[in-house]
């Protein structure tokens, strides 16, 4: 404990007074995510977090190598993804990657990494198929899939006494996937789905859908999608007088969601894989360091995963040296690795069998862990009818 | 009263020279006509005067002001008005709005109202149809409107391009009478026409254009007898 604290003080000191060490070999890593376009806030958050991890590591005198990060933009388009993945994977000086937020892109690129033998850790894409649809030893994933998340979500919400759901999801792979798994687990646990509404990801106006939902009168509106749509839908619910609990997925666990909604965000429930950041000492440190860097964009929900993925990769390199095959084997064998998102253990498909899904709720303008909230104690109600 | 002097004007249009060193003088207070058959260069001359097709060489002076190089709306602001060929009324505007467009440069509301009343007095038909869309009127009515619109700005110099085009002789006569009355009121007129006899009947002086050059000029009475005039039409 003391050693850790000392290290972090040292690290902070070095961050302030950067010293270049000439003795170390340079090892290149690649980060890939959407840096332009509609998903760029998540991409930029992931990139900044990865960059932060590399900076911290380079500042660590004990590190064997000096790390250099190459960041590439996949634009959240599969064809561009394949392009930059090929660029990274065929660049022999790059040892490993922290890759992809968008599931379509992650799906499109797995073959490329496998073909060229670049070990990567997926930091944000949540579609189960990314790890489970093939058996490539190069592909790992640190964040959980939407399966884990939705199983917990369905059980938890039914246990709270809700029975009737309306589901809105965007028609991206993310939204459709969430819809699929949530619906599956919900019906299995005794919930009832009154209606399902697919909406496009660039849609502004949801009044027609919400009017329909209002007519159906659900207890809960489940939303499978990301922050921009989440903010819009939640706002428009109030506009139309739709009174229901708003339940989201990891896609809306962001500062932007709370900032975007202000008071209306109160009582929104969402679920995210990984341990709650603020409960782990590393997590809190991450947030402090991130804030110190004064990035233009917040880390967003998956920034910590990117940070953890980068550390996982660098730890592996520290152990086995900058060799793709060795790094791959080291990553494959990850077990009980302590990270800021909790313990990481890869299963037979190199999927992090995340033990914990964090339940979150917005209270007083902050996402907080359900168990710590006034809602859990019954002091407040999710929705006033 | 104001005069218009065109000196050695050469204008190229669509890569073919259509005016070759044309000089003419529209004297103050007079009606000066320019005659010539189709394609003689009359319209190009008007376009040059109005600044729509900038000339290559030469100068155009309205009173003391050089017009070449000025944008059309500034030329018009000097007191020039034009009744364009083919009438060119704004088809989807009412008669009243067309007339108001003619008075665009006039700021004083009273002046506009006076002009409007005057035009309505001159062309009672326009008053009857004040709210009708110009595009739905007959050719003759459009011609009246076009003339009325040209008068709305109370110009010092009026340039009229083929007012008889496509009009029956009766209408032509009426319109020419209006032009003469306008001129009597002190407005200099530059009248471009192919209708020789009626034009010369109301003009003081005239020029005959053929293939981009002035082939004859002089007082109207003299010009009437000039064989060049007939030749300009019938070869």
């Amino acid at each position: 404990m003391f050693a850790r604290a000392l290290r972090s003080i040292l690290a902070a000191a070095v961050l302030l007074f950067p010293v270049t060490s000439y003795a170390k070999d340079t090892v290149k890593l690649v980060f890939i995510g959407p840096l332009t376009g509609g998903n760029s806030s998540n991409g930029l958050g992931g990139r900044n977090s990865t960059e932060l991890a590399v900076k911290v590591r380079n500042a660590d005198a004990k590190a064997r190598y000096r790390y250099e990060l190459v960041a590439l933009d996949d634009e959240c388009k599969p064809n561009i993804g394949v392009q930059v993945a090929t660029k990274a994977a065929t660049d022999r000086s790059i040892v490993a990657g922290i890759t992809h937020y968008c599931s379509t892109v992650a799906m499109a690129t797995v073959d490329v990494y496998h073909k060229f033998g670049l070990p990567v850790v997926v930091w944000g894409a949540v579609l189960p198929d990314v790890t489970y649809a093939q058996n490539y030893r190069e592909i790992h994933r640190i964040n959980g899939t939407m399966i884990n998340q939705n199983e917990t979500a369905a059980k938890f919400m039914v246990a709270q006494g809700y029975r009737r759901w309306a589901i809105i999801h965007d028609t991206t792979d993310y939204g459709k996937g969430h819809n699929k798994y949530f619906s599956q687990y919900l019906t299995r646990n005794g919930g009832q789905i009154l209606g399902t509404f697919g909406v496009t990801a660039d849609q502004q106006d949801f009044s027609a859908e919400l009017t329909k939902i209002k007519d159906l009168g659900p207890d809960v509106i489940y939303f499978g999608g990301t922050t921009p749509l989440g903010v819009r839908i939640r706002t428009q619910m109030d506009k139309l007088g739709v009174k229901a609990v708003f339940q989201g997925t990891s896609g809306i666990v962001s500062d932007a969601y709370v900032d975007g909604l202000g008071k209306q965000a109160e009582g929104t429930v969402a679920f995210r894989e990984g341990a709650p950041l603020e409960r782990l000492p590393g997590g809190r440190r991450f947030m402090e360091q991130y804030a110190a860097q004064k990035y233009n964009d917040p880390p967003e929900a998956y920034g910590p995963f990117a940070y953890a993925a980068a550390n996982l990769v660098m730890d592996a390199i520290e152990r086995v040296g900058p060799d793709r095959r060795k790094v791959r084997s080291a990553l494959n064998a990850t077990k009980d690795h302590q990270s800021i998102v909790g313990t990481v253990t890869f299963d037979d498909h190199r999927q992090n069998a995340v033990p914990l899904i964090t339940k979150l709720v917005v209270q007083d303008g902050k996402w907080i862990v359900w168990e710590d909230s006034d809602f859990a104690t019954g002091k407040r109600k999710l929705v006033s009818r | 009263m104001i005069d218009l002097r065109v000196h050695e004007l050469t204008t190229a249009y669509d890569r073919a020279d259509v005016l070759h060193g044309v000089s003419l003088h529209a004297r103050a207070g007079e009606i000066t006509c320019i005659l010539g058959s189709n394609g003689a260069g009359k319209s190009t001359l008007i376009r040059s005067v109005l600044g729509l097709t900038p000339p290559r060489h030469g100068s155009i002076r309205l009173g003391d002001e050089e017009l070449t190089g000025r944008p059309t709306h500034r030329i018009v602001a000097l007191g020039l008005a034009c009744i364009p060929e083919g009438r060119k009324v704004f088809p989807r505007m009412s008669v009243r709005e067309n007339l108001l467009a003619g008075a665009y440069r006039v700021r004083a509301r009273d002046d506009i109202r006076d002009s409007l009343e005057q035009v309505f007095r001159t062309f009672p038909r326009l008053k009857e149809r004040a709210e009708q869309l110009a595009g739905t009127m007959s050719g003759g009515e459009q011609a009246m409107l076009s003339i009325g619109r040209g008068l709305m700005s109370r110009p010092k110099m009026l340039v009229i391009d083929e007012p008889s085009l496509g009009l029956s002789p009766l209408f032509v006569k009426e319109n020419f009478n209006v032009i003469r009355r306008v001129n009597d009121g002190g407005v200099s007129v530059l009248l471009v026409e192919q209708n020789v006899k009626q034009t010369l009947a109301i003009s003081h002086r005239g020029y005959v254009l053929a293939q981009g050059r002035v082939v004859a000029q002089g007082d109207a009475d003299v010009l009437r007898e000039n064989p060049e005039v007939r030749r300009a039409y019938f070869g």
Partner: protein
């Protein structure tokens, strides 16, 4: 004939071609900012020079002196570039991408460069090709060449659904139809799960006559060529065929007819041209080319998804055609390089690259409104016209 024909010097073009090849090699390998900047500037300067009178005329003369020799040489240089890059997967992927995008733009060039039929749904037809390949290659045993042909055909057939409204409308009204189709196509794919929905579909690799393109080419134990060599080579062949096709089209009565219809529909109809027929021909041909290119592209990248075939992508195709020079098929290639490779080369400025890219396009449009290499007069044969 009073004029004495002197054989024009062949050397300018002869020299240029290997130079271009070398440039391509260096450009594809440039990573550092200053390298990219210098190379991009040099490239633009070279294109502008080629568009200028003197240099252009010199190149033109030498081209006419030995058209077939230089044509072959161009192909050989391109093939050589692919060979030199044989182990560089990424560079080859970019080469193949450029060639396939250029093939689509050849089609668009026929559509609005010649016939004047605007198409803002180029990416949709490109996508139709890709999806056709995905479905047919995965679920049927059809030979892949047949699949490529069907992809082109289907793209043409779907396009013919738009023909009626397109023929009836003009200008911006016609533009709206293809824009609406582009949006509709993408949304339909995404909402509908039939074709993989938003996740898209995996596409098996191309295999022709039993040769699987997705396998690396093993020469001996130590030497292994990237499998992209096959794709790049195949794309080169396709693009060459497309270029020759479009070239011949332009240099024939067909091209003349399309021009006549575009420039003055009224005059054309007075001289007996069936306006609709020519517009349909151009529209369909363009879509077929886009479809074939899309099929190969899908098989090469191994994946098709709606996100790759958006209206924004269509607009990228349109901008390539306009930047290159409307109606000049050869200009498609440098313009594609500019539009496809430059943003990739600008990766080092990461999130700022689209800002810079858009600014560059605005500048080109302001100062070279006819495109980088404007179209020249029709020349039915290399020896056609005055010496």
């Amino acid at each position: 004939m009073r004029k004495i024909f002197r054989p024009a010097p062949v050397w300018p073009a002869l020299l240029l071609l290997p130079l271009l090849g070398g440039y391509g090699y260096v450009f594809l390998h440039a990573e550092a900012q200053w390298q990219v900047a210098i190379l991009a500037l040099a490239g633009v300067a070279a294109i502008l020079a080629a568009g200028s009178r003197r240099v252009g005329a010199a190149l033109d003369r030498s081209w006419r002196a030995a058209p077939s020799l230089l044509g072959w040489l161009a192909f050989v240089v391109a093939a050589a570039l692919i060979y030199v890059l044989r182990e560089d997967h990424f560079a080859l992927l970019m080469v193949a991408t450029v060639l396939l995008y250029a093939l689509v733009c050849l089609g668009l060039n026929v559509q609005f460069g010649y016939a004047g039929v605007l198409n803002f749904a180029g990416a949709a037809f490109f996508g139709i090709g890709g999806y056709t390949a995905a479905v047919l290659a995965a679920h049927t045993a059809l030979p892949h060449l047949v699949i490529l042909a069907s992809a082109g055909l289907l793209s043409g057939v779907v396009g013919s659904l738009l023909v009626l409204p397109l023929l009836r409308t003009r200008g911006h009204y016609a533009a709206l139809i293809t824009i609406a189709f582009a949006i509709l196509f993408r949304t339909f794919l995404e909402v509908n799960d039939l074709l993989g929905g938003p996740q898209g579909l995996k596409v098996p690799g191309l295999a022709i006559l039993g040769w699987s393109f997705n396998d690396s080419i093993v020469v001996d134990a130590d030497t292994e060529f990237s499998f992209y060599v096959a794709y790049a080579g195949f794309s080169l062949v396709l693009f060459t065929i497309g270029l020759i096709l479009v070239w011949r089209l332009e240099r024939s009565w067909l091209g003349l007819s399309l021009d006549a219809v575009r420039i003055d529909e009224t005059a054309a109809s007075v001289f007996g041209f069936q306006v609709a027929r020519w517009k349909i021909l151009a529209f369909s041909l363009g879509n077929v080319l886009a479809g074939v290119a899309g099929a190969v592209y899908g098989m090469m990248t191994g994946f098709v998804a709606p996100a790759s075939f958006t209206l924004a992508e269509s607009l990228i195709f349109v901008s390539i055609v306009i930047l290159g020079g409307l109606g000049n098929p050869a200009a498609v290639l440098p313009a594609t390089v500019l539009v496809v490779v430059l943003p990739e080369k600008l990766q080092f400025i990461q999130e700022y690259r689209y800002l810079l890219f858009s600014a560059i396009v605005i500048l080109i449009l302001l100062f070279k409104p006819a495109g980088l290499l404007p179209r020249s007069l029709r020349r039915y044969f290399p020896s056609w016209g005055k010496a």
